[in-house]
């Protein structure tokens, strides 16, 4: 019996205990991971870890209870079920409460399990990490290493519900990353580089090393710019982070609870006609490509904004019932410790055609933002106000100029989407829930000296 069917068996056994009038869901997962950290040619740490657990959701009379445990021990599972049942009575009855129902949408099969990675030797993982450190050090004499890391994870899960959902899957993946420091006299700047793959054979160590060195050295000598309004070019990596924030405004649960600034805007123009936003976890290029959402429904392609017009919010089965629509397959689950929320799975902005260099050449007074910090603290997705710490390069009359740091860029999400003047053709499949692409925003406030 494979692990998968073993997990499915555990989930099935739980829901078989459902009492009349009770909906049950069991979500079971098992992960194993390896982490290697190298520093100055030696292994700083080597972590080999397995974890497993179960989360059980009980719904009765419109009330929901939940419990979890970080073990698959039989006695513990019985306790979890009892606790979840005990928790049911405290919920407020909710006519929309309930588990997902099979909706007939077929699963788009994907190649999420890689046998090469599953059989990769520990020694080679360590060697790769050391090689990344060596390559990074060799790429620039001003660069030091903070740490070089290798990480892989293999995850398997199964879900079963009394409403007829019964699905399991497994996937694995790996990445390497390196954090760098660059010194020039008294000044130190930092950078990072990474490479991801379904197996280590897909890594591009040289590119990761080069980017880690460049990110740290390009900011040496950076100054604080003067405050003004100007054109902002967002690097693909920065765009991906902004998309993460924008996605929270398209969350169907936020919409029905009145927390989205787009709640009354369906069918309206909310962005520049150049902006088409798609959530497509069925695209195998996406790092977060997946077959199933967090409730076991097929993951699917959803167009959220089409040519600047708001087309769709994303839903799980609960928010969909409340909004009188169907689930868009966007239940997200942070493992066995929680119940499914709503979220985008694999966002991408439809790319344009020109390179970043071509975009920059059209900018008279601007800044190329290569890194942002404090996005989580500086954005209010409810009001749309945001300001974020940033660093990057000034642009003057189409030419890249001096490096700048310790400034903020600010606007509102609403304005930023309307002020979009071009999307680059440089789509980058980053290890995030959103792909990166260069964006040009015509008018933002830069605060500095």
């Amino acid at each position: 019996m494979s692990f998968e069917s073993a997990l499915q068996h555990i989930a099935d056994a739980v829901i078989a205990q459902a009492e009349p009038g009770e909906q049950l869901e069991a979500y079971v997962s098992r992960d194993s991971e390896t982490d290697v950290r190298v520093y100055e040619g030696e292994i700083e740490h080597f972590v080999s870890a397995q974890s497993e657990g179960i989360g059980i959701r009980v719904i009765r009379d419109g009330r929901t209870g939940f419990a979890y445990a970080g073990t698959l021990d039989e006695r513990a599972i019985a306790e979890v079920l009892a606790e979840a049942r005990d928790n049911v009575v405290f919920g407020t009855p909710d006519e929309w409460a309930g588990l997902a129902l099979p909706d007939g949408v077929p699963v788009v099969q994907q190649d999420l399990w890689n046998e090469v990675l599953a059989g990769y030797s520990t020694d080679r993982k360590i060697e790769l990490t050391k090689e990344l450190e060596r390559l990074t050090l060799a790429s620039d004499s001003r660069v030091r290493i903070d740490d070089a890391n290798y990480s892989d994870v293999a995850a398997e899960n199964a879900v079963a519900t009394t409403t007829g959902i019964r699905r399991s899957g497994r996937e694995n993946g790996c990445y390497v990353s390196v954090s760098t420091l660059a010194d020039d006299g008294d000044e130190t700047q930092t950078g990072f580089g990474f490479s991801v793959g379904r197996s280590p054979d897909e890594f591009d160590l040289a590119k990761a090393a080069k980017e880690a060195a460049e990110r740290a050295t390009r900011l040496l000598g950076a100054t604080k710019p003067s405050s003004r309004r100007l054109t902002v070019v967002l690097d693909p990596f920065v765009t991906a982070q902004f998309l993460g924030i924008i996605s929270s405004t398209l969350n169907g649960e936020a919409v029905i609870k009145g927390r989205s600034l787009f709640k009354d805007r369906m069918g309206e123009i909310v962005a520049s006609p150049l902006f088409t936003l798609v959530d497509d976890p069925t695209n195998p290029l996406a790092y977060t490509a997946t077959e199933l959402d967090g409730e076991g429904l097929a993951a699917r392609r959803n167009v959220l904004v089409d040519g600047g017009v708001l087309q769709s919010f994303v839903h799980n089965s609960y928010s969909a019932r409340r909004a009188n629509t169907g689930s868009t397959g966007n239940a997200v689950r942070g493992g066995f410790k929680g119940t499914p929320g709503v979220g985008c799975l694999a966002l991408q902005v439809q790319p344009g055609t020109r390179s970043q260099a071509e975009l920059v050449a059209d900018v008279t007074d601007g800044v190329l933002v290569q890194q942002v910090s404090g996005l989580h603290s500086g954005v209010n997705p409810i009001s749309g106000d945001f300001s974020t710490g940033a660093s990057g390069l000034l642009i003057s009359n189409g030419q890249i100029g001096a490096p700048v740091r310790e400034f903020t860029i600010a606007s509102t999400l609403q304005r930023m989407l309307l002020d979009l003047v071009e999307v680059g053709g440089d789509i980058d499949w980053l290890p995030m829930r959103a792909a990166g692409v260069s964006l040009v925003i015509s008018d933002m406030t830069m605060s500095g000296a």
Partner: protein, 463 residues
């Protein structure tokens, strides 16, 4: 949690292949949480996390494995796996004599969360919802969460340390949305302490809810925040995160050792305004970052990091302290048994100065008054930090005037520490926080008296 004889055998197995050090960290944590949103108690959740992490150190290499199986067989398997990870060669047998070590007594729990009916916990959320909604017609949405946890930990290592601790925490948090002509605004409040349900004898959740509602309502008429460098006054108990980010992380010995901190090599030097004395204090009774022992079995301590502006010491964990041949400081912490410990803060705060808080505002011709800061982050190597202002006002002619919309504050840690030119006598601790580092979150507290920084950059949109 685990028999001493078993611990001795597990540690013996862990160092059998010639390691320098081995440690068993066992944890048993039970937690309850409840959430209210949109007028409904959405769900009560119960959780159980139980397991052990085994760390083996040989030379500069650490091997780590963890298991949810606390039986002797489960622990021995993890020990062998951690030992293999740390080392390929060697040999030898060491017997470890474990000596029980007491932690710092930080507080006494009067009402354990598991002795309180879940209905009583849920009732707090209903009271929050009601209080916030009755604060004004513009309040359109309320969400609130309750959480408690009882975490028992045990640490045993080959230095002979055997220590246990029980950490009980209670937390309540809320967010309120107000709707006005210019869109929606939000207000937040939270309270969290390292004690049981008796926390709610002294914390009035309805007061907190009304305060969150007041914040959301007042921001409805907020102006865009200014853009550029201005004097900033930070209200007591609302800006400890400034020190957490501006220098706290930079004083963590692991970052210092790798040259990833601007405070490297600065011990004994003036790094801040002479007004500033900064402390990290794990012993601070009932505060969110209080611990009896750290997650390496070391008793929590009161550590002075900056005295009158002079950098006195960094914070230390086992590995960094061993390397430097100096004592640990009780700052070795981890998120759970599944994680390796590293240097972390506990409760980090600035001691009182002598200025009257009113005087600080009156002496500021124009600037920004920050009544509540949000989360932040720092690049420890450059000292550049950023954090969000969730409640702020303009200061005009020495008086607090209009509310401001949200924005980020940015600055450079060493510069801001030097630029503190007034320090109040009204110290208060702030809201409970979760500090993230290297993917691990741990509970931390912070605090400060009202203070003024003579220049910081506000990232607003107003000219």
């Amino acid at each position: 949690m685990i028999d001493t004889d078993v611990l001795t055998r597990v540690l013996g197995t862990a160092v059998k292949s010639g390691a320098d050090f081995a440690e068993v960290f066992a944890e048993d944590k039970r937690s309850t949480s409840a959430g209210l949103d949109d007028g409904r108690i959405e769900q009560v959740t119960s959780g159980r996390d139980r397991g052990a992490g085994i760390r083996v150190v040989k030379g500069d290499t650490t091997g780590f494995a963890h298991t949810a199986d606390l039986s002797e067989a489960g622990l021995l398997t993890a020990a062998a796996s951690a030992a293999a990870a740390a080392s390929q060669g060697g040999g030898g047998v060491r017997t470890v004599a474990l000596t029980r070590r007491d932690g710092t007594k930080v507080n006494t729990v009067a009402r354990y969360p598991d002795e309180v009916p879940k209905a009583t916990k849920v009732e707090l959320l209903r009271r929050i919802d009601e209080a916030a909604r009755s604060a004004g017609a513009s309040i359109v949405q309320v969400s609130a969460g309750y959480g408690d946890s009882r975490r028992r930990i045990l640490v045993a290592n080959t230095d002979g340390v055997l220590a246990e601790d029980e950490q009980v925490r209670s937390l309540v948090r809320m967010s309120v949305v107000a709707n006005g002509d210019a869109g929606m605004q939000t207000g937040f409040q939270s309270a969290g302490q390292t004690i049981g349900f008796e926390m709610f004898d002294s914390v009035d959740v309805e007061d907190l809810a009304r305060d969150a509602a007041r914040m959301a309502i007042s921001k409805l008429s907020a102006r865009p925040a200014p853009s550029g460098a201005v004097p900033v006054v930070i209200q007591r108990g609302s800006g400890g995160v400034l020190f957490h980010e501006a220098c706290g992380h930079g004083l963590e010995a692991d970052l210092v050792a790798k040259g990833a901190s601007v405070y490297r090599g600065k011990a004994g030097e003036l790094v801040a305004s002479p007004l500033v004395t900064l402390v990290d204090d794990g012993t601070m009774s009932t505060e969110w970052g209080a611990i009896g022992i750290d997650d390496e079995g070391h008793p929590s301590q009161y550590n002075v990091l900056i005295q009158d502006g002079v950098l006195t010491d960094y914070m230390w964990d086992y590995l960094r302290a061993r390397k430097e041949g100096r004592p640990q400081s009780g700052n070795g912490r981890r998120q759970s048994y599944m994680h390796l410990p590293m240097v972390r803060m506990t409760n980090t705060y600035v001691l009182n100065g002598t200025d009257e808080p009113d005087e600080i505002v009156r002496n500021t011709e124009s600037g920004v008054y920050v009544a509540k800061l949000g989360g932040g982050s720092v690049n420890t190597a450059t000292g550049d930090f950023v954090f969000g202002m969730v409640e702020a006002y303009l200061i005009e002619n020495g008086e607090i005037t209009d509310p401001l919309r949200e924005g980020n504050l940015i600055g450079n840690g060493p510069q801001v520490l030097r630029d503190i030119d007034m320090l109040g006598n009204d110290f208060a601790m702030g809201n409970p926080g979760t500090c993230g580092k290297d993917g691990q979150g741990v509970p931390v507290g912070d605090g400060q008296p009202t203070l003024r920084v003579k220049s910081m950059t506000i990232g607003g949109t107003a000219a």
